[in-house]
Symmetry: C2
Subunit: 251 residues, 2 copies
DNA sequence: TCCTACCGTCTACACCGTATGTCTACAGTG
DNA sequence: CACTGTAGACATACGGTGTAGACGGTAGGA
């Protein structure tokens, strides 16, 4: 009998909402999925080894069979999210492909907003080459995309940096502006801006309506316009399709 | 006598390296400075209320006199660092002023690299208006800088977002590429890239020398060139000095 | 059949954030 | 002077945390 004590046999679709995984086999994938679920629901701080084990309906120590320690577990969660970012390195239109990647990255971040701190933070703790390979895959793929398009590897790296730098910044910006109290109708109150002294923050307060109607998608597109235009003019590869203007996805 | 038991009276410049603050008065500033010291030395994870108290040579609970809880303490640390960022809202040359701010932000991040996760992450947990006011000061100041230069408030906000989005992204990029093993002379080994399978990451591995000689300062300047050029062409304010080309600080 | 490998469990330790209570020193009041 | 109120520092305690180490049971290979 590998099940926990009797009192939890039947009544345990535990407080984490996950249905305790019953008697199913525990794999790394299952562990990471459960961890991701907890983080999505309650944030990174809410993820503890014990709570994760509770969600898996197993002993806390089981997690250590699939991750050497908690830091590695968090890396794993970041990796599973980032691994969903697919790059097509064979796309002949590199500008369009980068746009697609950017949009997908944004939508990934918006569906897992509480994972974003991990995405931007974990790499700071680990030297590049020691990072989980799923994390490096998009980098390598974009490098091949760009070198295939005619860029030199250093130029490709430059473009990659510019794109993801911009992307990370944009995501952080956008998530910061999520609404305080969505039910409130008045913009000032909804954003909590009324708490700021008027004499010290007049402009910020006056921007309530603008802040309240922030549109991340088109903000991203405009940023990409500028960025990609700047890149194509400074670094034109030999064999290349002309860069397209902003073209938000139709769907 | 407010001092702790005798055994620590003379021999306690404790393991945190800070000289226990002796009998000095504990203020919020002192607490935050000690916390910053610990984070600078050993990272955010190493900061615990107990260790902070040990550094202050006091009982753990004093910290709660100056911060309601640990999250607020971290916010305070982020604030003290960010408050060092001075914006001159009266500068007539807004482009030059933004460049200066960007450079100062970068140098701030480089002198406190382990605080950067807090800088980019804490705001995600707190709605804009609830953030410590020291955090909002640079925002308001940049808004007045730009509106004084002739931009409308929404345009000013747009520029602020673009600048700090780019800035955050750049900082994260730059810190990620810090060296694994600085003593090693071979670039591949120094970056740990030899651990990557050649057949799966050929381009990344080939970029070892480029990665090893990353120059964040000029990378930042080039990014600012593109960004500010893009902003001035799309959003030209009425009364404005012409934008200058990249001009790294002479000192 | 035994051996090895792994998987899940149990126990235990040192440490964590913080609610609550107690002690002390001092300010103001009569 | 005694008395009270108050604020700061200290002490205790509770429930939780990450994880080292040892133990049993089960599966597969020799």
């Amino acid at each position: 009998m590998t099940r926990p004590p009797a009192d939890s046999i039947d009544a345990n679709d535990d407080a984490d909402g996950t249905v305790g995984n019953g008697g199913g086999k525990i794999t790394r994938k299952v562990v990471l999925a459960a961890a991701l679920g907890i983080i999505d629901r309650d944030g990174v701080d809410a993820l503890s080894m014990r709570r994760l084990a509770r969600a898996l309906d197993r002993d806390p120590m089981i997690v250590y069979r699939h991750a050497p320690n908690k830091a590695a577990l968090l890396d794993g969660v970041a990796e599973t999210v980032l691994a969903q970012l697919k790059v097509d390195p064979t796309d002949p239109d590199w500008v369009a492909q980068l746009r697609t990647v950017a949009r997908e990255y944004r939508s990934l971040a918006l569906t897992h907003p509480r994972v974003v701190p991990l995405l931007v933070t974990r790499p700071l703790a680990t030297p590049l080459a020691l990072r989980p390979q799923g994390t490096l895959r998009p980098l390598e793929d974009i490098l091949t995309l760009l070198t295939t398009a005619g860029f030199s590897p250093p130029a490709a790296l430059h473009i990659y940096r510019a794109l993801f730098g911009f992307l990370h910044g944009h995501i952080l910006d956008e998530l910061q502006e999520l609404i305080d109290n969505p039910a409130e109708t008045d913009d000032l109150l909804r954003l909590g801006l009324h708490r700021l002294p008027i004499d010290q923050f007049p402009l910020l307060r006056s921007l309530a309506p603008v802040l309240a109607t922030y549109d991340g998608a088109t903000e991203l597109e405009r940023g990409l316009d500028i960025l990609l235009a700047g890149l194509t003019t400074t670094l034109n590869p030999p064999n290349q399709t002309p860069p397209r203007e902003a073209q938000p996805p139709t769907g």
